[in-house]
Each structure stands twice: as structure tokens, then as C-alpha cells.
């Protein structure tokens, strides 16, 4: 071991920067560092915000006057669809992902996110997927069925071109970044905190992001499943949403809104996290009701998953079900109000400063409260029926999303910009920008409530001058342009500050969270040494002045204040208590995430262009490249306890049970399980609700093939468990034999599933057959990957990366094998049970 302990801060900085920095020039494309990737997410999101904003201007220009010939209906449909799509998928979610990536390690006292390469891969998937949508728009081929893509409008009959495919494939591509970010955020918050930072000492922003990430983990899979099913229907005519063949358009609505309504809270919660972080600093006191805020975040997250049907109140659902969803929709106002009162109480009992970020926070209070109140109105079924699909709903959703997301995010921009850039503003353009945005926004959307109440429907490209909506629309359009000028001024202000601002002093707001203990702008490694945390206000812990802690850390007087063997290291802790647990080794810059995203792009583009052979190759190569990420990664010898400074020791992450990557697989399987449950739900939903059931022909599954699958799955699960037993881990031949058995088990199960799939009668005949086929394909794919992972385990074992202490690779694989066995058995239960139930 070649520990190198620096004697002074500059020497230590040079040592750390050498191993943590990214190469210049084209080397920048290999960046995986969270500060760089986080910044890229943020800047790219604002570029898409600009595009979405221009589309909004086109919409308002079109609607400013009756019978306008500015845009035809075809272009208008693409414009409003892409406006919603860009703002929701390409701006809001990536923006807070970027903010979380940038801030979380710094706030938690870590040197990077848990999986830097995954961050970079997610970023490139986001850029490529988003670009597909924008290129479609430029070519006049953009999706045009609304951002929710309702069937049958988005089905092949009514959207025969490529437009809907671009949405389905582009958005699914982008969602890879959302899911990868969700896993990464959870694991980072769980494991990569400064020692001593127990969950009750964690910054509230991390609590918000933790809950948000869990919501993403469970919220996105239903949409991914819906998108895949709709694409399969469009491409191969499997009728999931066609009522003539046992499908149901309502299945799409359920799957979409199962994602779509939590999505609103997924967007709101990070912004509320900004509120709970920035507001106490500017109010110059700690936040009131920390525990009640945590409780209300969790309550809000759960309740938000019980609201989705309030988007479907008019589709013909029994009154009792409407009452359930109406009750849940009103209930979610309570945890929101708890947070509101905590913020107001903090302001009232503090000494607030009316600085620029505070202006935007006050804007949030006004605008979001209005949106929340109209939300409660819309939760009431009779009122909802009256204003459904009118501009009242458009006004409401903009009050919620702009109030609940954009105002706090603009506050965040001004609050953390000195941290990002190391500079503070010379001018006060931001104040003018705020008033233009605030006045323009209310001018646009306050009056739009009235437009809606007067009956103007959403998504119409023009209206008659006898409708009585002319002056209301004209005022809204004028307001929108005032708002746009405000956003333009904000952009100018930010650019001026970054390029010509004054050198900012350290911790300009007097904050007490750890991100302000880094240099400004932050170095690649964040902290030269990592702090030990004993309270929620760590910057007050070192002599009472924030600079002291910062200087102590820069001098290497915390944990890991040295470079060991040229490795990038940070610390991992036990989840709840924050006790020191492990030394986590992180990867440095590499082009692999970019190349993997490019190959993933080949897969998606090939599906779009219906080059299915190329798509299959792209899929296989993507999996191969993902496995290549671990090539040469890991330890070939046991390291045991290693010094981490301050007289403490910890083992490397490869030698503990709670390693970040083990958690990542667990969380990934949760998301996977949600997708699987959505698929099974779809099948059962169609059986219970859809017309034209029972199907004309029922599957008669082969008992032999089913038995083969059952035995194979059971063998795989059993062998996987044996491969990580202490006796097997101690002896390479034994564990490799068990892994071979696991692989063979999956192989047998795969064969069984393939036989069952081939026995399904023509799946285009009925939704039952289509759903059965897809369900079998889903588990067959998992079994195939099980073979790959078992083989991968053998390769890793033979390469010397596995020992009695270093079993991480095998334990990750074992999770997959057990999970595949479980979903495979459930699938068999469904395909055998459903025909019997229906047949009786």
C-alpha cells in the first residue's frame, strides 16, 4: 500500500485533483464526476426549457386571436404535444436530477455519487432520447396526440405515421436516465454520507430527494410498460388497447396516470426540498418541525399514488371508486399544508432577508397555494366533471407546476449560483426578471381559469369570435410574452453572473449545510478530507465558524485526507445510524458510458425504424457493454480493514454485505417488479373490465414445458443461494459448480418458456393471447439474462475477484436468480390459472 499523506492543503489538493479530474478536450466526453454531470444535466434541461418555452409562445400566438391562421391544426397538435413533453420529461425531471447529482454528495459529505458511470450513462441517454424528439419536431414528425398519448388516438389507426413511435421510443429512452438516477440517488443517500450523519441529522433536501427517488422507482415502470405495450400494438398489432379484440383504451389511461399523477409530486418534492433548504437560511433560523416535514413528505408520496383516477373521473367509473379517489385527492392537501405551515412558521419566527432567492420563494407561496386550492376543487367529482378538459385545468396545472417547481428552482439557481460559479452578481437584473415572470405568469394563467369556466376546451387550435373568449385569450397571450421576457432576462442575468460576476466570498448566505464547506467553485473531489458529523448544522460544529470546518477539511484533518494507491475513495455508512461501515472505491472518467448510451441509441433508433435485427444486436451489445463496465474493476486479494484517518478503520466495499452495488440491484429489482406487476395488473384488468371477454380461444399450456420451467427456476434459485454460502465461497470449484447449475437451471426455464410462447395461438387475435405472450416473453428474457449473469459470476470467480470475503459479484447475481424464479413462477400460475377461472 502506498498511502500518501499530504502535509499542506495545496499539496493534498494536487494529489487528489490528479486522480479525480477529467481530461480536457475530447476527454471531457468521458466525464463521470458528479459535479460535471450534474451541471450538464442542469444546463441541458434549461436548453430544453427554452425549446419548450418557444413552443409555448407559438401556442399563445396562435390562440391570441380567434380564427388565427398562424399555425395549422397539424403543426399546432405537434407544438402543444411537444410543449408538454419537453417541459415534463426533458426539463423538469432532468433539472432536479442534475441538481440532486450536483448537491447531494456535497451536502452529505461524500466525494461523488455512488455510481458515477451510471450518472454519465443516464445523462447521455437523456440527451440522445431528447434529441430524437426534437429532431422529430424539426422534421415535422413530432408526436401530436397530446403529452399523454391517449389511445385510440395514438394507435396505428388514427396515428399511422411515425409521430407516436417517436414519443414512445424517445421517452422510454429518456426514462432510462430517470430510473438510473432514482437508484443512484437512493443508494447515495443510504450509504455515502459522512460518518455520524444519522438519518435524523440529514439535510431535509436529502430526505426530499430520497422520497422522490423512491417515487420515481415505483412511478416510472408503469409508464414504461404502457409505452412498450402501445409500441408493440402499433408495430405488431397485438391488441392491448383495441376493445374489438379484448383490449381497452382505459388500460393505457390507468398505466399512464399511475405514473402521471405521482409525477406531479415527483416534480414538486425536490422543489419543496429547495424551499426547506433555502428558506431557513434566508430566515436566519433552523427550520421548524423537521420531523413533521419528514412525516409529511412520506405521507405525500404514498397518497400521491392514490390519485391517478382523478384524471379519469369522466370515463365512466362506478361512483364508489370515484369516491375513493376523490377522498385520496383531497387528503393529499394535508401533508402539503403541514410543509406550508412549517415554512410560514420558520419565516414568522426568524429574521427573514428579502434577498433575490427569497423573492422567488415568496412567488412560490402565492402561485402554488392558488394551484393547490384549485387542485382541491378538481378533486371534487361534480366540479371536475364541469371543467374537465377545459382551460381551467390548464390554468390549474400551470399554477401547480410553475408555482411548485419553477419558482423554487429559480430561487435555487440564484442561491447556489455562487457555489457553481464562484461568482456573485454585479447587477440586479434578477429582481426585474422576477417581477416580469410573476406578473406575466399571473396575467397568463389567472385569467385562464375564467376562460375555462366559460367553456373553452383544451387542445383546440382555434375558436370562433362568437365564443366570447377573445379578450381573455388575448390577455393570456400578452401575459405569456411578458413572462417570456422575464425568462430571457433571467438567462441573461445568469450568463452575466457566471462570466462577469464578482468573486464570491465563501458561504455568502451564512448557510449551515456541508456543501458550503467546499471551495467555490468546488474541486472535483469536493472535500480534501471528509467530515465527522454530530448535528444537523455541521458548519457550526468546528469552532462555531463555517470557515474553520472548511479549512480543517482542506488541510486533510478529516477522514481520508490522503491518496491511497491512486484510488478514488469515499466513505460508506450504516443506513440509519450513520456509523462508519466501508471504504467505497469509485471509478474515474471513462468513455464507456458514452459508448454504451450510443449503442443503446442504436437499439432505440432501430426499433423506431423497424430494423428489428439491428435492434436485437444493439440490445445484446448494450448488455455486453454494461457487463464490460466491471472489467478490471474490483480486488483480486482481500484487503481487510484499511485506515481511514482519525484513528479509524473500515473494510473496502467489496468485503461488506451492504455495498452500494448490492443495494442498486435490490432497488433495480423493485423497479423491475413494479413493471412486472403493472403487466400482470394489465392482464387482470382486461379480463375483469374490457369488452369482448372471454377470448375466442384459451391457452392450453404444456404441462411438460411448465414443469421444465418450474424445475429450472427452482434449481437456479437454489444453486444461487448455495453459491454464496460460506462453504462455497471458500472453495472456487464448488461455487463455480453451483453457478453452472444456476445457469443450467435458467437455461432449462428459458427452454420451457420458449415452448410455451410458441404454443400461444396467434397473439394478434385477442388481448388475452397478446398479454399471455408478452408475459411469457418477459420471464423468458429474465431467464436468458440469468444464464448470462451465472456465466458472468463464473468468469469473475475465475479471474480472482471472488473469495470468502469478496462475494459481492455473486450476491448481486443471486438476487437476480431468486427474483427471476419468483416472477417465473407467478407467470406460470397466471397462465395456468386464468384459463381455468375463465373457462369455469
Amino acid at each position: 500500500m502506498t498511502d500518501t499523506t499530504a502535509t499542506d492543503p495545496i499539496r493534498l489538493h494536487k494529489q487528489l485533483d490528479r486522480i479525480w479530474s477529467t481530461a480536457p478536450g475530447f476527454g471531457r466526453l468521458s466525464a463521470v464526476n458528479h459535479t460535471i454531470v450534474g451541471r450538464r444535466f442542469i444546463v441541458t434541461a434549461f436548453v430544453f426549457f427554452g425549446i419548450g418555452g418557444i413552443l409555448a409562445m407559438l401556442i399563445r400566438a396562435q390562440l391570441a386571436t380567434p380564427r388565427s391562421a398562424f399555425l395549422g391544426p397539424e403543426i399546432y397538435n405537434q407544438v402543444f404535444t411537444m410543449h408538454g413533453t419537453a417541459m415534463m420529461f426533458l426539463f423538469a425531471i432532468p433539472l432536479f436530477e442534475g441538481l440532486a447529482m450536483y448537491l447531494l454528495p456535497k451536502m452529505l459529505g461524500a466525494r461523488d455519487m455512488a455510481f458515477p458511470r451510471l450518472s454519465a450513462y443516464g445523462y447521455w441517454c437523456y440527451v440522445f432520447g431528447g434529441s430524437m424528439l426534437i429532431i422529430g419536431l424539426v422534421l415535422g414528425l413530432a408526436p401530436d396526440g397530446g403529452w399523454f398519448m391517449y389511445t385510440p388516438l395514438s394507435s396505428r389507426t388514427y396515428t399511422p405515421g411515425i409521430n407516436a413511435d417517436i414519443w414512445l421510443i424517445g421517452i422510454t429512452f429518456v426514462e432510462i436516465s430517470a430510473l438510473s438516477a432514482a437508484i443512484e440517488i437512493i443508494v447515495t443517500i443510504f450509504k455515502l454520507r459522512a460518518p455520524g450523519m444519522s438519518l435524523d441529522k440529514m439535510p431535509l433536501f436529502a430526505w426530499y430527494m430520497l422520497v422522490t427517488a423512491f417515487m420515481m422507482l415505483f412511478g416510472f415502470p408503469p409508464l414504461i410498460v404502457g409505452s412498450v405495450l402501445l409500441e408493440i400494438e402499433r408495430a405488431f398489432d397485438l391488441p392491448f388497447f383495441d376493445p374489438a379484440r379484448g383490449g381497452d383504451p382505459l388500460l393505457w389511461q390507468h398505466l399512464f396516470w399511475l405514473f402521471g399523477h405521482p409525477e406531479v409530486y415527483i416534480i414538486f418534492l425536490p422543489a419543496a426540498g429547495v424551499m426547506s433548504t433555502v428558506l431557513p437560511v434566508l430566515a436566519r433560523r433552523e427550520i421548524i418541525g423537521y420531523i413533521w416535514i419528514v412525516v409529511s413528505i412520506v405521507a405525500m408520496a404514498f397518497l400521491s399514488f392514490g390519485l391517478w383516477v382523478h384524471h379519469m373521473f369522466t370515463v365512466g367509473i362506478p361512483h364508489l371508486a370515484l369516491a375513493f379517489f376523490s377522498a385520496a385527492s383531497t387528503a393529499v392537501a394535508f401533508p402539503t399544508a403541514v410543509q406550508f405551515f412549517a415554512w410560514i412558521g420558520t419565516l414568522a419566527s426568524g429574521r427573514p432577508q428579502l434577498k433575490l432567492p427569497m423573492l422567488f420563494l415568496l412567488g412560490f407561496f402565492f402561485v402554488f397555494a392558488m394551484g393547490g386550492l384549485t387542485g382541491v376543487m378538481l378533486a371534487i367529482v361534480p366540479f371536475n366533471w364541469q371543467v374537465h378538459d377545459t382551460h381551467f385545468v390548464v390554468a390549474h396545472l400551470h399554477y401547480v407546476l410553475v408555482g411548485g417547481f419553477i419558482f423554487p428552482m429559480l430561487a435555487a439557481a440564484y442561491y447556489w449560483l455562487p457555489h457553481f460559479s464562484g461568482r456573485s452578481p454585479r447587477h440586479s437584473l434578477g429582481i426585474t426578471a422576477f417581477w416580469l415572470i410573476f406578473v406575466g405568469f399571473n396575467l397568463t394563467f389567472l385569467i385562464m381559469h375564467l376562460t375555462g369556466l366559460l367553456g373553452m376546451p383544451r387542445r383546440i387550435y382555434t375558436y370562433d369570435d362568437a365564443a366570447g373568449w377573445e379578450w381573455l385569450n388575448l390577455v393570456s397571450s400578452i401575459g405569456s410574452f411578458v413572462m417570456a421576457i422575464g425568462f430571457a432576462l433571467f438567462t441573461v442575468d445568469i450568463v452575466l453572473q457566471v462570466t462577469m460576476g464578482r468573486r464570491a466570498k465563501r458561504n455568502p448566505w451564512g448557510a449551515k449545510t456541508l456543501e458550503w464547506a467546499t471551495a467555490m467553485p468546488p474541486p472535483t473531489y469536493n472535500f480534501a478530507s471528509l467530515p465527522s458529523v454530530t448535528s444537523r448544522t455541521p458548519l457550526t460544529e468546528s469552532g462555531g465558524k463555517s470557515d474553520n470546518l472548511a479549512i480543517d477539511l482542506a488541510r486533510g484533518q478529516g477522514y481520508l485526507g490522503f491518496v491511497r494507491d491512486g484510488r478514488l475513495e469515499t466513505l460508506g455508512v450504516e443506513i440509519t445510524s450513520g456509523r462508519l461501515e466501508q471504504v467505497v472505491r469509485l471509478p474515474n472518467s471513462t468513455f464507456i458510458p458514452l459508448f454504451t448510451a450510443m449503442i443503446t441509441g442504436v437499439f432505440f433508433v432501430s426499433v423506431l425504424l423497424k430494423f428489428y435485427l439491428v435492434a436485437a444486436i444493439g440490445f445484446v451489445v448494450t448488455i455486453a457493454m454494461l457487463l464490460m463496465w466491471t472489467r478490471g474493476w474490483g480486488d483480486r486479494a482481500d484487503r481487510g480493514l484499511m485506515s481511514v484517518g482519525l484513528g479509524e478503520e473500515a473494510p473496502p466495499h467489496t468485503e461488506v454485505t451492504g455495498a452500494p452495488s448490492n443495494w442498486a440491484m435490490t432497488l433495480g429489482l423493485f423497479a423491475n417488479g413494479t413493471a412486472y406487476a403493472s403487466l400482470a395488473f394489465g392482464m387482470l384488468f382486461l379480463w375483469v373490465v374490457a369488452p369482448n371477454w372471454p377470448p375466442p380461444v384459451l391457452l392450453d399450456p404444456s404441462v411438460l414445458a411448465s414443469a421444465l420451467a418450474v424445475v429450472g427456476l427452482a434449481a437456479a434459485a437454489f444453486a444461487a443461494a448455495r453459491s454464496v454460502a460460506p462453504a462455497a465461497l471458500a472453495r472456487a470449484p464448488q461455487r463455480e459448480l453451483w453457478l453452472a447449475v444456476a445457469g443450467a437451471g435458467h437455461g432449462a426455464a428459458l427452454a420451457g418458456f420458449v415452448v410455451l410462447m410458441t404454443a400461444v395461438p396467434d397473439p394478434t387475435r385477442h388481448a388475452y393471447l397478446a398479454a399471455t405472450f408478452v408475459l411469457l416473453a418477459y420471464v423468458a428474457l429474465h431467464a436468458a439474462l440469468g444464464v448470462v449473469f451465472a456465466a458472468y459470476g463464473i468468469v469473475r470467480s475465475r479471474a480472482g475477484y471472488v473469495s470468502a470475503l469478496r462475494s459481492l459479484d455473486l450476491r448481486i447475481g443471486a438476487q437476480w436468480h431468486r427474483y427471476t424464479a419468483a416472477i417465473g413462477l407467478i407467470a406460470l400460475l397466471l397462465i395456468h390459472g386464468l384459463p381455468r377461472v375463465m373457462g369455469s
Binding site: V298, A299, F302, L303, G306, A321, A323, S326, I575, V688
Partner: protein, 118 residues
């Protein structure tokens, strides 16, 4: 003591998981029951479907009661030892109460006279 440490985080989600389960099962059974005509089968003063829904609701309320008492007991132990997990148990207890209130709130819908009328 280890179990109290390990379970603390899980219990934070448990209260509302029970709520979510109640919500999903009530919605699912209501839809299935309407489809299969259980609302037309009288059992005493109420229909079979309404009895089922009330039973499901009551079972989940009982489960929430158990979650509450478990959190309360764990909080007593962890708070007495000033363990950092006490925070999580306190939050879990508050969440179990909140989830119970939310379950009562959605349960009020069971008073709607028409179960299957669209």
C-alpha cells in the same frame, strides 16, 4: 436491539403501505365484485360486496393498529437508550397514525349508497 435498528426504516413505510394496500384492494374488489354481480347478492341487511369491502377496510385498520403499537414499543426502547433510531420510530408512529386517519377518510366512501352505479 439489532432488529430495532434494522426495522426502523422499514416501519416508516409500513403504515402507508397498509393504507396503499387497503386502497388497492378496496378498489380492486369493488371493480371485480361489480363485474361478478356480488352487489346483487344480499347478506343480511347489506350486499355481499359491501360486507366484503367493510371487512377489508376493518382488517387494514386492525393492521394499522398493530403497526402503531409496534412503533410505540420500539420508540420507548430506543428513546430510553438515546439511540438515533428513536427519530425513525417516532416518525413511524406519526406515520401510522396519519395512515390510519387516511384509511378512515377513504373508508367514508363505503357509505356511498350506489356501489356499482356508473
Amino acid at each position: 436491539m439489532t432488529s430495532l435498528r434494522n426495522q426502523a426504516f422499514l416501519f416508516m413505510a409500513l403504515g402507508f403501505t397498509v393504507w396503499a394496500l387497503a386502497f388497492s384492494v378496496l378498489y380492486g374488489v369493488q371493480g371485480t365484485g361489480c363485474e361478478l354481480g356480488w352487489h346483487r347478492q344480499p347478506v343480511g341487511p347489506l350486499s355481499l360486496l359491501r360486507w366484503l369491502l367493510i371487512l377489508i377496510w376493518a382488517a387494514h385498520m386492525a393492521a394499522l393498529g398493530w403497526v402503531y403499537w409496534r412503533c410505540r414499543a420500539a420508540l420507548a426502547v430506543t428513546a430510553a437508550k438515546a439511540m438515533p433510531e428513536a427519530f425513525l420510530w417516532r416518525a413511524s408512529m406519526a406515520l401510522s397514525i396519519t395512515a390510519a386517519v387516511a384509511t378512515v377518510w377513504i373508508g367514508l366512501a363505503l357509505l356511498v349508497p350506489s356501489i356499482c352505479v356508473v
